[in-house]
Every structure is written in structure tokens, then in C-alpha cells.
């Protein structure tokens, strides 16, 4: 599904060079639910960004669905993000000026398709996360858990094969966090490959596999 080989990420300023990731090798199979854990600043989000093609590694190779993506242009990477990857963020990243339904539709705006088809898919995704009764609401009218469910609906609306979740329960209380994790487990059971960054050991235990990072290095 996704393979990272010899990934290195260096952030450079005029005076400092920071090694954020060092020789990361990961191979995640289709249908796996993998957690990434580690202390703050260890490079978890950087790794997830590289997996999600939001950032480029300084060294190493990223392969998604058998395609080695080195040298891919922005347009091609954007298409892969749009059609094959779904993102869930800790702070939800919902657009407050759009309704729940319109927020969920966003990924579909960047691919061909009619407005009615988009609407239909967005409604289906919202039904799946149990928010069909909140479609006309705006994000500011929702609780944290509901917002994250909207974000999950937005991540799955384009039916991606890979879902990347960056601390999806980080801003939620434990009940709501469990609720969100249950939805993710359900999606995984339905066939989605999920990679989740988390600080919560208990949540990580409920996933298939755990990748630990420390100071940018993979620890076993």
C-alpha cells in the first residue's frame, strides 16, 4: 500500500540544520491499521506529511500503490492526494463559512463529477459517521466530536484507499476520542488502510501495528 525507504528529512535555515527524520523504513500493507507514536517533536507529523505527499523527503523514496513517486509533479501528487488519500487532522480543519455538507464535498470539487453526485456522496459519508441530521449545520454549531466526525466524512467521501489521521482524538475527551476511534476501526474493517499518529498508548494498542519514533528515528 505504502512503502517508505530510507526517508530522511532535514529542515535548513541559514544557521541551523535540523534532522527531523533519519532513515525511516516503513512498509504498510493494504488493510492495516497502524499507529505512529512518540514524544512531541519526534517527527510523527513530518512522517505523516511525507506519507500524505504534503511534504517531500530530503532523501529516500515514497511508494504508494506500487508507484515510486520521486519526480512526480505537483498536479500528479495533488491527484493522488485527492483520489487515494484521506486526511483527518487533530484540529479538524473545517471551513467555518461552509455548512457540514459543503465541507464534506470539498475533496470532490477537485475531481470531475456533477454537483448532484457530489451531494449524494457527501450525504452518504455523513450518514456513515452518524451526522445525517447535521448536514445544514455550520462547524461552529457542532461539538468537538461532531466536528471530527465531519472531518472523517470528508476524508472518506472520495473513497480513498488510505486514511491518514494526525492525532484525531487529540482535541477530544476520552469518550469522544473512543467514539472516533470506533469509527476508524469500523472503516478499517470495511477495508480502508489507516495510519494514525497518536499520543495515547491505549488507542495505539487497539490498532494492528505500532511504529515508534524517537528523535526522528524509528525505534523497535
Amino acid at each position: 500500500m505504502i512503502k517508505l525507504s530510507g526517508i530522511e528529512k532535514v529542515y535548513r535555515t541559514s544557521s541551523i540544520e535540523t534532522l527531523a527524520l533519519d532513515n525511516i523504513n516503513v512498509d504498510i500493507q493494504k488493510g492495516e491499521f497502524v499507529s505512529i507514536m512518540g514524544p512531541s517533536g519526534c517527527g510523527k507529523s513530518t512522517l505523516l506529511n511525507i506519507m500524505g505527499l504534503l511534504d517531500e523527503p530530503s532523501k529516500g523514496e515514497v511508494t504508494i500503490n506500487e508507484r515510486q513517486l520521486k519526480g512526480y509533479k505537483d498536479k500528479e501528487l495533488a491527484r493522488i492526494r485527492n483520489q487515494e488519500i484521506g486526511f483527518i487532522f487533530q484540529s479538524f480543519h473545517l471551513i467555518n463559512d461552509l455548512s457540514v455538507l459543503d465541507n464534506v464535498e470539498i475533496p470532490l470539487l477537485y475531481r470531475p463529477g456533477s454537483g448532484s453526485k457530489r451531494r449524494e456522496l457527501a450525504k452518504e459519508a455523513l450518514e456513515k459517521v452518524g451526522l445525517s441530521n447535521r448536514m445544514k449545520h455550520f462547524p461552529t454549531q457542532l461539538s468537538g466530536g461532531q466536528k471530527q466526525r465531519v472531518a472523517i466524512a470528508r476524508a472518506i467521501v472520495g473513497r480513498p484507499s488510505l486514511i491518514l489521521a494526525d492525532e484525531p482524538t487529540g482535541n477530544l475527551d476520552s469518550n469522544m476520542g473512543n467514539e472516533i476511534l470506533n469509527i476508524l476501526l469500523q472503516l478499517n474493517q470495511e477495508g480502508s488502510t489507516i495510519i494514525m499518529v497518536t499520543h495515547d498508548e491505549n488507542m495505539a494498542k487497539r490498532t494492528n501495528r505500532l511504529i515508534r519514533l524517537f528523535d526522528g528515528r524509528q525505534v523497535f
Binding site: 507529523s45 513530518t46 506529511n49 500524505g52 504534503l54 511534504d55 505537483d74 498536479k75 495533488a78 491527484r79 492526494r81 485527492n82 483520489q83 486526511f87 487532522f89 484540529s91 480543519h93 471551513i95 463559512d97 461552509l98 455548512s99 459543503d102 464535498e105 470539498i106 475533496p107 470539487l109 477537485y110 475531481r111 454537483g115 455550520f138 470528508r154 472520495g158
Partner: protein, 385 residues
């Protein structure tokens, strides 16, 4: 996508309202300036109706003198005509071409009354100014004994008074029960310069003591003759005042009475537009700074960099469209209500040019911040949140 823009803009209507008002005001100012320009261009593009290059205008003032004015004027006129340098000389009233003097009167035919510029001249006037006769003829010396004063009108006077009827031979009535007979029609006659709208004009053969002489000189005649002429006619009537101007100079000065205020108005409008442009630029730059996480999100969800540029330019164009639409609703009232009695085409050109200018302005202002937005690294923008 357009629907998505509309939703975003509608849901942010409070913050966008000010922007829409700014664009509306800019549109209305532009509509005014563009309509004025269209009006001036339309007038300028119509022929003047006469030739002025070799023509001088001599204005005569007889001060306190009251004795035998007619005879004295006649002898001056005869003297001017006698110079070999003079091709044609024509006596006329003070409302000579490009002069600020006007003589307006109401003219009536049947039940139609219009106001027109009256030019009382002698029979040489058309020749002196090279006025071309479209129909009929110019009046001659032989018309002097006629029952009705012979008159020549221009095309617009014909259309307004007679419609499609032939006006030749018809008798028109002036205030004071004076009656003139139409003997000819000319196309245009824009006495007040190139920017004057083509208004109704009536020329009539006059016997009155006319205070101006149009002197058409032969090619190559220069200031030496002007000095000689002024000296010799000055000697004929030492107490009178003679003032000679070239129609060429008068035309330039008359045209400037329209072109300079228009230019000033355009410069003021230009500064206003610059302010609007800077305002739009600033608002959009701020907007993009506030929406960095949204940009990061859109990039993460599959928007390529050019789609971000298109998104922000598109949003601005939708906002501009709302402002322009309101402006067009207001602007269209001008031709519908016939404000200022201008042709509808002037307003339509004004609307078209104002709309185009707004779209160009908005696109230019939106383009740079939108390109900058597209360069935002999604990972960085998402992390900032």
C-alpha cells in the same frame, strides 16, 4: 465550483458587503467617466461641418460711435474683400465659429417647437467656411428681396422638426412672429468645437449690422498680411476696436474647454481607482493570510497549486460580479429615464467599459496574492493551525 464560490461569499456576506460596496462605487465612478468619454468621443468623431484652416475671424467693436455704422462696416468689408490675399470674406454676427457667444431661439413648424442656434450671416458664409450643402442650396444675394428670410438648417434640425418630410420650401416661425423659408440643408455644424453635440442649427440671411467678418485667406498668406490688414482697417476707423483671431487657434482653445476638465476628471478617477486597487489588494492579502489553513487544507484534499490561484481570483470575480450587477441595475436607469438627454449608446458603452475595467482591475489585484496563496506549503499551513 462557481456554486461553491457563491456559497462561501454568501456565508461571509457581512465581510464581503464592504468589498461589494467598494466595487459598486468604483463601477459607478467608472460608468460616469466612461460615459463622458464615450459622449466626447461620439461628438468628436462626427464631422465639424466646416473648414477652418485658412480662415481668420475679425471682430469689430464700434465703441460709442453711433453714426452710420452700417455704411462704415460696409466700407471696411469692401476694403477687406479688395485685398488680393483674401479669397472670400463673409459678414456674420458675433457667434462666429469657436466663439463662446451663442444665439438661441425657439423655432416652430406646425406643432413642433425646438430650440436652435441661430447664425445670421451674409451669402458668402458657406463659401468662407467650406460648408457643404446636403440638399437645396445656400442663400444668395438674389434672396434679399424675398417675402420670407431665406434659411438653411442642419440635418438634426430637419429630423427634429420635419421627420422624414422634405423641409425645402417650408416656412418656419420664430419667436416674434418672424418667418423664414428653408432653402437648404447642411449635414453638421459644430460651432463650439469638435466636442459639441450636433445640435439644431439655423442659418439666415441677414441685413443687420454684423460685427464680425470671416476672412478666408489664400494659401501661404502669413502674419505680414495680418499686420497690414489690421493697420489699414484701423486707420479707416481709428476709434473702433478690431480684434483678429485665427479659427485654428480658437478651435484649439474651445476644444480645451472640454478636454481639460475631462482630463482632470479622468486623473482624479485614476487616483480613485488606484485607491480601490490598493484596497482590494490589501483586503485580499489579509484574507489569504487569515485563510492559510484553509489553503493548506484544500491543497491536502487534492487542489493543485493553480486551483488555489483560480479559487481566490474566482472568489474576487464573483464578488466583483455582485458589485457590478448592482451597478448595472443603477446605470441602466440612465438610458431608461433618458437622463441628461444623451443617446442610449453612450450609456451602454459606459456600462461596457466600466464593467471591463472593473474585471481587469479586480483580476490584476487578485492575481498576485492568489499566486502567493498557491505557493503556501500545505504542511506548513496546516501545522500553523
Amino acid at each position: 465550483m462557481i456554486r461553491h464560490f457563491f456559497k462561501l461569499i454568501w456565508n461571509k456576506k457581512r465581510s464581503n458587503a464592504l468589498l461589494i460596496v467598494e466595487i459598486l462605487v468604483a463601477f459607478l465612478v467608472l460608468f460616469g467617466v466612461m460615459s463622458l468619454m464615450a459622449y466626447n468621443y461620439q461628438n468628436y468623431s462626427r464631422p465639424l461641418g466646416f473648414k477652418y484652416e485658412q480662415v481668420w475671424c475679425l471682430n469689430i467693436g464700434w465703441n460709442q460711435d453711433t453714426a452710420q455704422i452700417g455704411e462704415k462696416l460696409k466700407s471696411i468689408y469692401q476694403r477687406i474683400r479688395s485685398y488680393p490675399e483674401v479669397e472670400i470674406a463673409s459678414r456674420t454676427n458675433g457667434n462666429t465659429p469657436f466663439a463662446n457667444n451663442q444665439s438661441n431661439r425657439n423655432v416652430k413648424y406646425n406643432k413642433v417647437t425646438i430650440q436652435g442656434d441661430i447664425f445670421s450671416t451674409d451669402e458668402q458664409y458657406a463659401k468662407a467656411l467650406g460648408i457643404e450643402i446636403a440638399e437645396g442650396r445656400w442663400y444668395t444675394r438674389a434672396d434679399k428681396g424675398a417675402k420670407h428670410t431665406p434659411a438653411v438648417i442642419n440635418q438634426i434640425a430637419k429630423e427634429k422638426m420635419f421627420g422624414k418630410d422634405n423641409p425645402l420650401g417650408k416656412i418656419i416661425q420664430l419667436e416674434g412672429d418672424e418667418r423664414w423659408k428653408i432653402v437648404g440643408i447642411v449635414e453638421n455644424f459644430k460651432q463650439r468645437g469638435d466636442y459639441q453635440p450636433n445640435a439644431p442649427v439655423f442659418f439666415n440671411l441677414s441685413d443687420w449690422d454684423m460685427s464680425s467678418v470671416l476672412v478666408k485667406v489664400k494659401p501661404g498668406v502669413d502674419a505680414n498680411f495680418e499686420a497690414k490688414l489690421m493697420r489699414e482697417i484701423g486707420n479707416m476707423q481709428p476709434d473702433w476696436v478690431f480684434e483678429l483671431s485665427y479659427l485654428k487657434t480658437l478651435r484649439k482653445s474651445m476644444n480645451q474647454q472640454t478636454s481639460i476638465p475631462s482630463l482632470i476628471f479622468s486623473i482624479v478617477c485614476g487616483f480613485f481607482l488606484l485607491n480601490v486597487a490598493l484596497g482590494l489588494f490589501g483586503v485580499l492579502t489579509l484574507n489569504i493570510a487569515k485563510r492559510r489553513s484553509e489553503i493548506g487544507l484544500r491543497r491536502a484534499l487534492g487542489a493543485p497549486a493553480p486551483a488555489i490561484t483560480i479559487h481566490f481570483v474566482g472568489e474576487m470575480l464573483v464578488i466583483a460580479t455582485l458589485g457590478v450587477l448592482i451597478g448595472l441595475i443603477l446605470a441602466v436607469q440612465f438610458p431608461l429615464l433618458n437622463v441628461f438627454d444623451l443617446e442610449a449608446s453612450v450609456y451602454l458603452v459606459g456600462m461596457l467599459l466600466a464593467t471591463l475595467t472593473i474585471y481587469v482591475l479586480v483580476t490584476l489585484c487578485a492575481l498576485y496574492p492568489s499566486i502567493q496563496a498557491a505557493r503556501i506549503q500545505p504542511a506548513t499551513a496546516l501545522h500553523e493551525e
